[in-house]
């Protein structure tokens, strides 16, 4: 994928050239591109005049940041205690069968990424799944195809 450097620079210039903003800038890059492209990391190191290694360290430390391209839609499947005992592992298996991906992977069509996350704080709705910013509560294996197909149809137009 070709990265538009103007977009990268626009994001960088939202912040003063101080190292304390590095995490915020990386979050913005992540939000914009759905991952942090290498070009963005290198431009940021130059912008903040700090070693690339220190940014790389941060980017690999935080789960919220990804250095690999993510799918268009991010499925966050809760595997907190409540969701876990209500069968989130089965759901992960179900998603795996439907999309052919495991946790942390992106589907071949680039539409979905699956993340297994810790408690989302909606235990009453367990098991919970969040696609982008939409919460789905009391998810069952039967409901999964319907939910996922909605995004597929949307992408197909």
């Amino acid at each position: 994928m070709q990265i538009d450097m103007d977009e990268v620079l626009e994001i960088l210039h939202r912040y003063p050239r101080e190292k304390r903003h590095s995490l915020a800038i990386m979050q913005d890059l992540q939000h914009h591109f759905n991952y942090i492209p290498r070009e963005g990391m290198e431009a940021l190191a130059e912008y903040l005049e700090c070693p690339l290694s220190s940014l790389y360290s941060m980017a690999t430390f935080y789960r919220a940041l990804s250095l690999k391209p993510k799918g268009k839609h991010i499925i966050k499947l809760c595997d907190g205690t409540a969701c876990h005992i209500r069968g989130s592992v089965n759901l992960a298996g179900g998603i795996g069968r439907l999309l052919g991906i495991g946790a942390g992977e992106t589907s071949a069509d680039g539409l979905f990424s699956l993340e297994l996350v810790n408690c989302l704080g909606s235990c009453a709705l367990a098991p919970v799944m969040v696609v982008d910013d939409t919460y789905y509560g009391k998810v069952t294996l039967e409901k999964l195809p319907e939910i996922l197909n909605k995004y597929r149809e949307e992408a197909a137009g």
Binding site: M41, P51, L52, S53, S54, S57
Partner: protein, 248 residues
Amino acid sequence: MTITIDGKRCTCEKGEKLLAVARRNWIPIPTLCHHESLPGQASCRVCLVEVVQQGRSSVVASCVYPVEDGIEVYTNSDRVRAERGMVLALLRKRAPDSQLIADMCRLYDAPDLDRVKVSVPGKCILCGLCVRACTELSVGAISTVNRGVTKEIATPYHEPSAVCVGCGSCASVCPTGAIEIVETADTRTIWDKTFRLVRCARCGEPIGTEEELAHAARKGGTEPDTLCERCRRRSMTDVLAATYGDRE
């Protein structure tokens, strides 16, 4: 102020670290991640000692523990030996290939910990001293990468670093010799990057990599060195001798 270490009275000043006071008084405390020039790393926990203050005993990391008047310190009590043994046992699981840690484990009768799985072979205990050395003394080419059980020390993207000057500071401060550095007659290879070695213009001894000398010169605002330390001193002596006419 005065403190007691293993029964010996030691004079010290406010703000001094316990380890420094002990070492000044020839009381040995083992350390791994402590380095005189890069103090305060405090990650290996091997230097832990027992501090008794107002009848209460606690175990602290001596390398970062600021002394307080009247404390009693035990560097080798049963409790210290047991806890240090456990710390070493865990470090051995982290760095199973380190002979140094294996030897220290034997010294402290460290438990085997069969139930703990060895995640990665190697000698690195992830103390981060190399990262500090590189960041503070050199160029910041390496850092910790990932976290938890997958944490490691690496260059960005696991590729040869664009900025590394091959100074070897990281390898020289590493307590377990975990960073591989290979030298031939005229090259040095470290972190998968090979550098050309520069030799002393006078005696021919290797004095560092081209990039390292250039980096030092840039930092100091001088020309890159061409002589090794010994020859530099000798050439100064020659100049002095010529000036004062006292040669031979």
